[in-house]
Symmetry: C2
């Protein structure tokens, strides 16, 4: 419930503006108090569901008048506490801004409202011959994906949101609307505001429209799975594949425990050993076959065995369904457990070292830890399956996460490859960026001097 | 010659710091008064040749103490007046910071000092199986290329400096050294400082080290040239090629006058018609052949004729030498002329319109105008060959340039695809970015409140 007089007045003004699309009911506020993470929830005072950029402008004006925080909310699938309203205020849920505004088959781009989800966009592209391949797993909103600089399994070939957002419409803290970027495929006309805002997690403004690059649906697709005696053999296969310039579309690494979990959950029968899953995209069957053959030869050199190549749609689907359900498969190892998912990313040459040492940390822990990685990027995720009630398990997970991130930074990596910072990883930014963190603070101060835009995330000023 | 007392003292301190590597001789100052452009020169008071980031820090401290501007200088090949010392001060020539610090074949990246040139890096990569494919034409420095967000013929496949710079070391206006970015292939850990500084043209700080992505040398390469009845047929071929997902490495468009110029200069005999030059990179000869065959079929559908496919190295070299010399070929059309080179970039679907209308502008002008474009990006260049002494020709070129940029912006494009802003294109930024220009000013103010870093470029505060 709103407590201060200012908040009560703000809620009144928001209801006057939006009617039932501004809600301070306990249920709605609670629903917007958290993403999909282990972090403690924090509810906003009021939740708004604007239908246009202009309504977002009006909401931000009200936030300005009453000095209230603004927290953007997409699908609620974020993992580091990005949507927690740590200091109360106004959550802006963009679910009603869900129109695909424009698709250009000629220019291979589209403009969507920020609340459009990945699957919704994919559906809108049916029969265009085009695809938006960035897939973080969850059916996140395109706005949320841009805000967290998301990526996923296909980044090794198609890049992350950094490479695939061409332009943004953003409402700033002072309610100005900025159209940034260009539909031209490149530009050297001034500072790259688009890239500054991609990954800024709502701390510099609220994204309301996103222009993204699209990619031709490949003429031919195949997949493969291969098991390895060791993580090292798997990672060396990845390095050699990329060095050779094989334009592989996906290379996913699963550790033995994750393979076991997948087998149990998805009724597959992969050897319980580290495994690589591949997807190949090409402009002809021949090209895809060439890629698969190149990779099979590389894998064999590095101790890979049972390279199973799947060209039929149902076989590929089965394989990628298994991968897609890896998270649920992990959860099923410990029914009722709460999952804590974390990620780091290191230069690929250090991936073996980082994975092997990290797994050694898990030897004696009292809960299952699964590993799945976007190995082509040097990025991997851990899933800690915790007893929800156990403070000691949470502490242990915290310690493991700390150790892994410290290790990744020491190896020249980053504390988050694709989940973002939120408030969960703020404490690692000083170690990662040094004085650069002060530069980030200066930018935040320049664009949001009152610290109203998603305060308490990435940097505090 | 230094005029104010502050400047005299600064020069004294710089000479004490650097000895002969700080020079206020007329010849050295004049050499640093301009790039390769029609813009009026403007010499600095003093030129420094630091050998390390630490010396750059000391120079910036002196600039701070005496309130003097700092202008970074690479190869001097910039085209929009980036290196003119409009308000005097200290030019920092990075030519002595020319060490390739690190090449990682496993991670496909390298770190170089900012003064390393493109060809120097290419040479250092010999026998590694890797290449740095970004080629703006000139043998620019990697620092200069990062500062102007350069690209060139291969951007359609490998991206621009935006996609290929992984990290930077920058000395800020207050002499702090910031290491930004990461060698991890992706990160979502905070604001993307690297991308903010790429393309900032020295206005936010001086780049001293650059970490770039490398790419495997393709197993197989071929090239082709094809003539078209009309520009439209050529551009439609480009659009269809990209829609089909053919991963073409270069698609260059030459207009009939430029083809004629090339024939005369390089002793080639291409039909004097609009032409497309292609390069195909693949992981096998078969793949490259498939690409060329796909494109040949597309070109034929769009009125292309005489598709000449070159697989032999000497034939390819001849073709790309001809393209590489397009600028000199244009110059030779009017011996003694001064060249003014400009560029715009539009969504590819608007490229035909933009090119055809722009060429109509040239019908009655008294000087030759050649057109050459990176058509796969929607980017094209004009070269105006002007009588150096003629104010009326310069005025006419100014008018043509204005009209072309206004047109490109109206078509959803940008006032510069790859040359940057310098001071030559500042006047177009308000029309292109609207309120976004105010955001750029706020960022500049946050990082360089005294406006000492390359003042008078991109934005003034």
């Amino acid at each position: 419930m709103p407590t201060s007089a200012g908040t009560i007045d703000a809620v009144r003004d928001l209801k006057a503006l939006l009617g039932a699309r501004a809600s301070d009911s306990a249920a709605v506020r609670e629903h917007h108090s958290k993403g999909e993470s282990y972090h403690a929830p924090a509810a906003p005072d009021v939740v708004c569901f604007p239908a246009s950029t202009e309504e977002v402008v009006q909401i931000v004006r009200i936030s300005q008048r009453f000095g209230l925080p603004v927290v953007p909310f997409g699908a609620g699938s974020s993992l580091e506490g990005h949507v927690q309203a740590l200091r109360g205020g106004i959550t802006i849920d963009l679910r009603d801004m869900n129109r695909v505004l424009r698709v250009s088959a000629e220019d291979l781009d589209a403009t969507v409202e920020a609340g459009v989800t990945r699957l919704q966009l994919t559906k809108a592209l049916r029969n265009t011959g085009l695809d938006f391949p960035i897939d973080p797993g969850a059916d996140a909103t395109i706005g949320g994906m841009a805000a967290t600089r998301a990526s996923g399994t296909t980044a090794v070939r198609y890049g992350t949101m950094r490479e695939n957002v061409l332009g943004l419409t953003v409402v700033l803290a002072d309610a100005r609307v900025i159209n940034m970027g260009t539909r031209a495929r490149k530009s050297s006309a001034g500072y790259d505001l688009t890239r500054l805002f991609v990954g800024s997690e709502g701390t510099l403004g609220v994204m309301t429209e996103v222009t993204v690059r699209l990619h031709p649906v490949p003429e031919s697709v195949s997949a493969a799975v291969c098991s390895f005696e060791s993580i090292k053999g798997a990672v060396d296969t990845v390095i050699a594949t990329i060095q050779l310039g094989v334009p592989v579309a996906r290379i996913e690494l699963l550790d033995d425990l994750q393979v076991d979990a997948v087998n149990r959950y998805s009724k597959t029968d992969y050897p319980v050993m580290p495994a690589l899953l591949f997807e190949f995209h090409g402009d002809s069957d021949r090209h895809v076959q060439d890629q698969a053959e190149s990779v099979e030869a590389i894998a064999r050199e590095h101790g890979g065995r049972g390279f199973a190549w799947a060209t039929r749609l149902e076989d590929r689907d089965r394989l990628w369904q298994a991968r897609h359900h890896a998270f649920y498969a992990a959860l099923a190892l410990r029914p009722g457990a709460q999952a804590w998912t974390t990620d780091v990313c290191v230069p690929i040459s250090r991936l073996t070292e980082c994975v092997v040492e990290t797994k050694a940390d898990h030897a004696a822990v009292p809960f299952p830890v699964c590993l799945v990685g976007h190995a082509g990027d040097g990025n991997f995720h851990l899933i800690y399956m915790l007893d929800s009630g156990s403070a000691s398990e949470l502490d242990e997970a915290r310690r493991l996460n700390d150790r892994m991130i410290t290790r990744a930074l020491a190896l020249g990596g980053t504390c988050s490859g694709e989940h973002g910072v939120g408030f969960g990883k703020m404490k690692y930014l000083a170690a990662e960026h040094g004085e650069g963190l002060e530069v980030m603070r200066a930018l935040k101060r320049a664009l949001d001097p009152d610290n109203r835009m998603n305060p308490g995330k990435i940097v505090d000023i």
